[in-house]
């Protein structure tokens, strides 16, 4: 296992480099470089100044030179400055990831808490009313546009009922400590529900089908034949085995929570990593976009690895050497 882990981690290095090249090229070659954007705001800049600016930013260097410069700085821990926020990119991205965690962790837990019991029950009582309701819910969850669902939730809970804030991150002027935490929680309710919906729907479906498969296995029949109580048969023999593929789905779903965040965070004006990506790509803040996107890519790779490791730990039939 140890050797396997080391090998997989080493394999990630060229992959991350490859992704950083692709992201860099995509960003740099997009129409509208930083100087163009500067000029759009101030058309009276002189031609010499444009030349000087392009030289300072290194925009006239060939693409590979620019990438190597970026990489050399990045390896020394210098990811540049955000053009929009005038702060080091790394600080900005860390900050925003922290904000996103307020949404991703609770929505992950919420999805898990709803999907697994519903999926299990749905499988145990196949073709019951609840099973049909759950199946309809999964269709509903994968078909509804997350941002529209968000807008409708804002309408119901913020505009009509006025019980939750319509968006944002914190109420200005709230005392630090517990009041701040409670205040923050109010803001997280709606985005968390919206963000978890898709995950919840997919997870319910997987849990149901995995459970359906497992309860037909011989070892479940054996457990029943031994005269074990139904609780033990389901909880110990069936559920544990059904959870093996679910763990993989879960691990692969976590990066999706971050990747799907641009929409939810935009709807609720939440200053997280997803919103930062939308803003920085749209506003030509490439240094920021590069790091934020790279973070997402690394997250995917890390969780892919975690999924494989968890799989091996949970299923004794699988061994990596």
């Amino acid at each position: 296992m140890g050797a396997y882990l080391v090998r997989r981690l080493l394999q990630m290095v060229p992959l991350v480099l490859g992704i950083s090249v692709v992201v860099f090229m995509l960003l740099v070659m997009a129409p509208g470089d930083p100087v163009d954007l500067l000029l759009a705001g101030n058309p009276r800049v002189r031609a010499e100044d444009i030349q000087a600016l392009r030289k300072i930013y290194g925009l006239d260097d060939p693409l590979h030179v620019r990438y190597v410069k970026w990489l050399a700085n990045a390896l020394r821990g210098d990811f540049g400055y955000s053009r929009t926020y005038k702060v080091p990119v790394l600080d900005l991205v860390w900050d925003r990831i922290g904000n996103s965690m307020w949404l991703t962790i609770p929505s992950f837990l919420l999805a898990l808490a709803v999907a697994v019991p519903v999926g299990v029950y749905s499988a145990l009582r196949q073709y019951s009313a609840l099973d049909y309701a759950a199946t309809f819910f999964t269709f509903f969850g994968v078909s509804i546009p997350a941002f529209w669902f968000g807008i409708m939730m804002i309408y119901v809970f913020a505009v009509v009922l006025r019980v939750l804030p319509p968006g944002g991150f914190a109420t200005p002027g709230v005392a630090p400590g517990w009041p701040t935490v409670l205040d923050r929680l109010q803001y997280t309710v709606l985005p968390v529900v919206v963000l978890s919906l898709l995950q919840m729907a997919a997870l319910t479906r997987y849990t149901r089908s995995s459970m359906l498969e497992v309860i037909r296995q011989d070892y479940v029949r054996t457990a029943r034949a031994k005269g074990l109580r139904e609780r033990v048969v389901i909880g110990k023999h069936a559920l544990r085995n059904a959870m093996i593929p679910i763990v993989t789905i879960l691990a692969l779903g976590i990066p999706n929570l971050f990747a799907g965040a641009p929409l939810t965070e935009t709807v609720f004006a939440w200053p997280g990593i997803g919103r930062l990506i939308v803003e920085s790509v749209g506003g030509g803040d490439y240094a920021t976009a590069q790091v934020a996107l790279l973070f997402l890519a690394v997250l995917v790779l890390v969780f892919n690895l975690l999924a494989d490791v968890a799989y091996a730990l949970l299923d004794p039939r699988i061994r990596y050497d």
Binding site: G18, A30, F139, W148, M152, Y155, G260, I277, L296
Partner: protein, 262 residues
């Protein structure tokens, strides 16, 4: 199969929109901006005085066109890659499948946002961008089918008769692998419509004044305190359309795949 009926109605209303819409798509009624539903404007008007019903119908054309084109293009690309990969095997298969793995592990929405900066705005551009991230599932599916079919007797027979690889692929492999591809493509229409709506909502997709369900939502959110219905209709259309395609695709899978019947 009820999904099929809904799809027919949606397609018909999109195709017929120039005849059934009460106004031209960019007609502006300045005197009646953000008006509630009335006889003159059945679903009211938006902040510029566009008739919402008209915009919804014309936006349906855009969204459905994007959905169908992207799904068909993804299915074609995926089929070709899967065919080649499964049929020839070896290093080519390795390279193509590793590429598929990489594409699948990239979180698509952020990359789509970047790509949309290049091609955004135009219909063809959006279709190309969505296709670029939509073909991998089909490729895996077709490859799997081809690997299975390659060992069947009728393919061996065709090979023994001296059929060229192109003929084997086209006449023997493609028709037999078609059913799951059609199911995947149907489900992909819904996915593509959702993606287009998401990009347009974020402002990177179809640009106003061309209406799309996504960009209608973009402005509507700002007016949720005054005219909440403005945000309700476009989203409902997206939801119903995607739901219809998902149900239809699911029904199609049950109908076309006898192995799933119990």
């Amino acid at each position: 199969m009820a999904g099929g009926g809904v799809i027919l109605v949606l397609v018909a209303s999109a195709v017929l929109s120039p005849w059934i819409a009460p106004y031209p798509p960019t007609h502006i009624d300045l005197a009646n901006r953000m008006s509630p539903p009335s006889w003159k404007h059945p679903l009211g008007t938006d902040e510029l005085g566009h008739d919402v019903l008209t915009r919804l119908l014309y936006a349906g054309r855009v969204s459905l066109t994007v959905g169908f084109s992207a799904a068909v293009a993804s299915a074609l690309l995926g089929t070709v890659v899967g065919l080649v990969s499964g049929f020839y095997g070896g290093w080519l298969d390795n390279v193509l499948m590793r590429f598929v793995d990489i594409m699948l592990s990239i979180p698509d929405l952020p990359i789509l946002i970047i790509l949309a900066r290049y091609f955004g705005g135009s219909l063809v551009g959006i279709v190309a961008v969505i296709t670029a991230f939509g073909w991998m599932g089909t490729a895996r599916l077709v490859r799997g089918e081809v690997l299975k079919l390659k060992r069947t007797d009728f393919v061996e027979a065709a090979r023994a008769l001296g059929a060229s690889p192109a003929r084997i692929m086209w006449r023997h492999l493609v028709p037999n692998a078609l059913a799951p591809v059609i199911v995947a493509a149907t489900l992909a229409v819904g996915g593509a419509i959702l993606t287009e709506a998401a990009l347009s909502y974020l402002g990177f997709g179809i640009q106003p004044p061309t209406p799309s369900w996504g960009n209608m939502l973009q402005n509507a959110q700002d007016f949720i305190w005054r005219t909440p219905l403005l945000a309700f209709w476009p989203g409902l259309m997206i939801f119903l359309t995607v739901l219809a395609f998902n149900f239809f695709g699911d029904g199609l899978r049950d109908a076309l795949d006898p192995r799933l019947r119990t």
